[in-house]
Symmetry: C2
Subunit: 496 residues, 2 copies
């Protein structure tokens, strides 16, 4: 199986950053429910649902550029894309539910084709389905063009989470007014960064969403709440559990790479060994690539193939030679498939790559570092360095404490156990980002649903025949909880 | 007793608006805990508390201009004033409480001298006291000077409630960090517009404030939630309950004024009758002035003098003649005291007048109209007209639905009964703004505390010897509730 990687930032970033300072920006794993685009390269025939893109009608909302400011420019509008599927809806007169997927750092088309939770459950909820695209992605671009919108901080400044969820508020209100569905309960659903948005949306706009399903949302991976090494500790654990020898090989490989690279003509030998598309300019080019591959394999370690197992089979199999580096190359081939070259193939940076880089630099500063107990070389997160890099990229510094200022996160159980309701935080414990997730129930209705073997955002993807029992069960639990919210709401509504 | 009025907008506004279109902007009653400055003109010697301004130390926070945007200009800073009184604080090591007064549309000095709730209760709460000034008022001015900050919409755009409560979040976090008081519970307190901010702060920042006392906060006077005639209906009721004849006289007076004004030389006769400071240019000048006087008397209808009674004594007494207009003039004199002239004395517009005009024009569009069953001439609220006026004043239109989009308000019990906690909505039912207040309990901990005879924000003013029993009781109830929140929190904290 071939995995096409879409989130390598190196080639793009290295233009403006030195390798050393770019390290953490390069290798901060992307956040997305989708991950490598297996289904695009190889359409998945085993989906259970009856997904049909034609059931969705596309609309554009005339969206306000800046909800929190009244400068004349704040009133500028941009077209924001959203899609509605009303095939299964019970209608406004019975206040049938509305499921809303909150788009994240990708064009909404990608989610429509992958996030099946809404379509799969539309019939049993009699629900209207809505997918809303996040500002600055896909066709939801301010300032007339992507080029203009992404030009510099003066245009990018409006590109942030608070504006994004205010967009969602405006669109959901508009839809409910248009359909005269004032009392239809709205459930917002999102994965990864979109999962954060979903939980934050319920917290900030409880008058618009009755509840939220926040899948694999690392809302605690900010500031000093979660240990910085949480992410890579789980990547390491995933590999070690898959194969102790694989883990040991990877752990040893970094110094082997450095050693070879430091020899005369070493980079050229490394380039040959790893069949790089262009000669390596620096060993870190290779190491960052491998780092990202291991992280991605762990994050999207999905049934039925389980990429971590695939990589380890390649490494342990030793089909390219018994030495450490040949084994690592075997892992690379196992993950990527047979390609003409590896590591530094030229790819244009995706919308996600470009957009998420701004988002992580401005506010979504997730402090991921590598600690001493991992299969990676230690590499603590350096906030000052991070901010300096962002400043040199965009001219404006990161606001590393804003997310916890606006959304909270510290002592979350103490704070929310007597405030808020109706949020599911779902996590797969093999997902490295689960280290920043909510893993324990906060109250009766703010709950954690976790699976020991799950990976990133599995639960909201299309159900498949090959889904293991624990995944089927996880989804059933989530649906049961959401139904309880809705039923309780209907009782409240009759007494209102 | 002389009441110095500070919120007549006419002289200022009429420069740019015709009388007709200016009507609703002119006469929308101000929102403030304080009202006419009785205590400034005539220091109140009967205060029970031991208020001593010297116990407060003044600080300035280096505040971010725009919390919700990352344009380079958004990072500009301005000095935001806040004051701390630590005389009564139990300290960080016992997590003693912090009471924070959220400033509203006035310089914070005015609140310090009038809002006694914090100082009066500091001893029994062992609490730190904090007063924070609202951006664009007092000494908390962006762009270097008031002149520059208020220049036009491009500078005023940052002047809004969402930015203001984000300011408060940043300052409270800063104070708690500085004092290492991470676990000290924070109770936010505000009155009128500041009361809205307090309740919204608890809703948006539950991780920063444990609870809120929102005094006389008409959070439901937006959009179509509250009948537009709510405000003037209560003004009317207050007068009618004070004196049926007074009410009848006022009700009849408007047509009398119009009739006289329409006669040849009528305006000159009216000017003479009402001893105006300059000749009336239009009858509406007088009518708006009276409208505002009645509204203000009702809103700040405080013990022990009860201005509505004073005005009615003046009207019913007929000391200036038995005819309708002489009686009305008698009411004016009773309210204002013996002045050399009335109605259109030149006064420079206060900071509140200027600032609140922008705030009501941009987002705080409180749709107050006059219905058919009042002592005032019917004058329905006209949103289109309102927006046009604001546009002509500032070049940008009102966003009349933003407050309910961001903060909610519709079906508030249905929404919040299973979400949120720890908010007191206190109201005096004689306060015209109570028509837009929360008057029924929403849940066990989101509660309404109301007094039949209370007026605007009475409960948070300094306690006085002359306070009636019901006011003393109201404050006791509020303190008991806040203590329950704090005690429950301390129990949670020990189990955390």
């Amino acid at each position: 199986m071939m995995f096409q990687r879409q989130f390598l930032l190196q080639s793009f970033l290295l233009l403006s950053l030195t390798t050393a300072t770019a390290k953490r920006l390069n290798t901060i794993p992307r956040l997305s429910p989708i991950g490598p685009r297996v289904w695009r390269d190889q359409p998945d025939k085993t989906t259970l649902g009856e997904f049909d893109g034609e059931d969705f009608e596309t609309f554009f909302h005339n969206q306000t550029l800046d909800h929190f400011n009244y400068r004349p420019e704040s009133y500028d509008k941009f077209p924001q894309r959203y899609l509605i599927n009303s095939k299964y809806w019970g209608g406004a007169n019975v206040s049938a539910p509305i499921l809303v997927y909150l788009g994240a750092e990708e064009p909404i088309d990608e989610d429509l084709a992958a996030v099946g939770f809404l379509v799969d459950n539309a019939v049993q909820f009699n629900s209207l389905l809505v997918f809303i695209e996040h500002r600055y992605y896909g066709k939801s671009i301010p300032f007339g063009s992507r080029e203009e919108a992404l030009k510099d901080a003066s245009k990018l400044g409006y590109f942030n989470s608070a504006q994004a969820i205010a967009d969602y508020a405006a669109i959901i209100i508009h839809i409910k007014e248009t359909l005269r569905a004032q009392y239809s309960p709205v459930i917002v659903i999102g994965g990864s960064y979109g999962g954060m948005l979903a939980s934050w949306f319920r917290l900030k706009y409880p008058h618009i969403a009755l509840g939220a399903l926040a899948s694999s949302a690392p809302i605690l991976y900010f500031d000093d709440i979660t240990p910085q090494d949480g992410y890579y500790s789980i990547v390491t654990k995933d590999f070690r559990e898959a194969s102790e020898t694989c883990y040991q090989t990877i752990k040893t490989s970094w110094s082997e790479i450095d050693e070879l690279a430091s020899k005369p003509d070493g980079l050229s030998m490394l380039s040959k060994k790893f069949k790089t598309c262009t000669p390596l300019a620096d060993a870190s080019e290779l190491k960052d690539h491998l780092d990202t591959m291991y992280a991605s394999a762990a994050q999207y370690n999905r049934p039925p193939t389980y990429p971590v197992n695939e990589v380890c089979k390649g490494i342990d199999g030793g089909g390219f030679g018994d030495d450490i580096l040949s084994r690592i190359f075997g892992g690379l081939v196992a993950y990527k498939g047979n390609l003409s070259c590896y590591v530094n193939a030229h790819t244009d940076p995706s919308e996600t790559t470009v957009g998420w880089r701004w988002q992580t630099c401005s506010e979504m500063a997730i402090p991921i570092g590598v600690g001493n107990n991992s299969m990676f070389p230690p590499d603590p997160f350096d906030l000052e360095d991070y901010i300096e890099n962002c400043k040199s990229l965009y001219g404006v510094p990161t606001r590393p404490h804003w997310i916890t200022t606006y959304y909270g996160g510290h002592s979350i159980k103490l704070i929310l156990q007597r405030f808020a309701s109706n949020i599911i935080f779902s996590n797969g414990l093999r997902d490295p980002y689960s280290s920043g997730g909510v893993l324990e129930n906060i109250s009766d209705t703010v709950v954690a649903v976790k699976t020991v073997n799950g990976s990133h955002c599995l639960d909201i993807l299309f159900a498949k025949e090959t889904d293991p029992e624990w995944l089927v069960t996880q989804r059933k639990i989530e649906i049961k909880i959401i139904k309880e919210w809705i039923n309780k709401y209907y009782v409240d509504l009759t007494m209102f």
